[in-house]
């Protein structure tokens, strides 16, 4: 059974004219890693807000259709219960970091504190997560005095510490350099292997191709297509929907255009390498 299910969902923020989501139907299964891609303003973050219950519990506005988490309507969920099921990493770490905790350590512990986790367990979990995210050396610093990239990691750590079954992560790498980005993806991948459900909004398409099981492409408030990562990202037509495809997929199409087709369109470097070698061997 799908863990999260949306059936013909439309949503309009208060005081706005247009719907931010229009007739969205999609579902998310346990233990899978989903990538949400597509244009800015296309509804990616709004979809996250629905899944996370911020809509309708925090944002008012008009929600139509059904949103079910574990089969129960999102409107009937208690927000605190939902928080312990679904963790949410905001796009902007400045929005997420509480600003009321004087140290990184306390900031990372804030969720656990609110859930009433026993002290010893809390200390262990926070320490482990800080090490895992490479902010161990910053635990005594003030979260408000960190760089953008560091704050992004602190925001991430505070959610991972809560150890929820599902994580919704909105552009976690926008402030990071390539090395920092890769380390965040490696962390997300570790979470996937511990059987978490992950829903990730991201523009860095090569990393989506590498790590995600399935992809949803959004444009103008609708899901224009969704399915297995390889099937979706190999389609050149994605670019007509203002969504990027991996460089190696463009290469695959260019080979076909030049009359030198590969056996299929690659979406990762590894696939591209294998396909070119196979072609040369023919």
């Amino acid at each position: 059974m799908a863990f999260i299910e949306l059936k013909d969902v439309s949503y309009k923020y208060p005081y706005t004219k247009d719907y931010a989501l229009q007739h969205v139907t999609c579902s998310f299964e346990k233990g899978k890693f989903y990538g949400i891609i597509g244009e800015n303003g296309g509804g990616k973050t709004t979809l996250c807000n629905v899944i996370r219950g911020l809509i309708p519990h925090f944002y008012l506005g008009k929600l139509e259709g059904d949103v079910l988490v574990e089969g129960k309507d999102i409107r009937d969920w208690d927000t605190a219960d939902l928080c312990s099921k679904i963790g949410f990493v905001f796009q902007n770490p400045f929005t997420q970091i509480s600003g009321i905790k004087p140290t990184v350590f306390e900031e990372v512990a804030i969720g656990l504190e609110n859930l009433g986790v026993p002290k010893q367990e809390m200390l262990e979990r926070v320490t482990n997560v800080c090490e895992q995210l490479d902010i161990g050396h910053l635990i005594k610093n003030n979260p408000n005095e960190l760089s953008g990239g560091q704050r992004q990691r602190v925001a991430f750590a505070s959610i991972i510490a809560m150890d929820t079954e599902t994580l919704v992560i909105d552009e976690p790498t926008s402030q990071l350099d390539p090395e920092g980005t890769e380390s965040v993806f490696n962390i997300i991948n570790t979470l996937k292997h511990s059987n978490k459900t992950i829903i990730l909004v991201e523009h860095k398409i090569d990393l989506i191709a590498e790590f995600c099981d399935e992809v949803l492409v959004m444009e103008n408030g609708t899901v224009v297509c969704s399915g297995l990562t390889k099937e979706i990202l190999s389609q050149r037509s994605l670019m007509d929907h203002n969504a990027a495809i991996p460089e190696v997929a463009k290469f695959g199409h260019a080979m076909a255009d030049a009359g030198k087709p590969l056996a299929e369109i690659p979406v990762t470097m590894e696939e591209a390498l294998k396909l070119v070698k196979e072609r040369s061997a023919r």
Partner: protein, 263 residues
Amino acid sequence: MAIEIKNASFRYPNGFVALENINLTIHEGEKVAIVGQNGAGKTTCVKMMNGLNRPFEGDVIIDGVNTKDVTVATTARKVGYVFQNPDEQIFNNTARAEIEFMPRYYKLDEKEVKERVDYAVKICDIEKYMDINPYEIPYPIRKFVAIAAVIASRPKYIVLDEPTAGQDLHGTRTLANMVDQLTKDGITVITITHDMEFAVQNFDRVIAMAHKNIIKDGTAQDIFWDDQILADARIKKPAMGELAKQLGMDGRILFCDELVGRL
């Protein structure tokens, strides 16, 4: 006419030395991308170019004028810097007011103000956001408002700090066209970027920075086919280069059509 940085070092007030003995000349008309990991000194370096940072040793000379001898406002008139985070820059109530601000500050006549604003707005593709409060404009598009405001001040050199971060396909294409158009119109474009595809597709000259210094300055091929430099600057080869390398091909390939042609 050029930006010349000569034996320049920079130290923040807290004593942290961010740049050590940098030498760099950027001539008018070049397209330059600066790459390297967070903390390498990239932003500190470009802020020396527009006078926001002044070297404690050495000199920064813009078109023959030493930044030490003039005010920041004078230097900034020649070298426009677009902050990585638009929120550090934007202060007006509407995108229009923000973009008109510098032309009006220069007391240009209405016709000239309009001409400059129209040019900047078109290049940034933000026509439909003009009468909105910048803080109600989505962040990635707000970055274009910040860029337009600097373009409208008509600098000779423009520095874009991480413009592609958070942009979608349309935004990235708008930026690529912008680099082209500005260069054609005689504005020298310098960018800091973590996006190696953006760097390789749009810039002729690439500068790799690491450990408070420039470690290599050359063509995209010079940088992206020097594995030691990539390791030291903690950057990756663009995808087509990586594929060519793993296939054991020579010729320092970086572009899709080159690779397709060779297979």
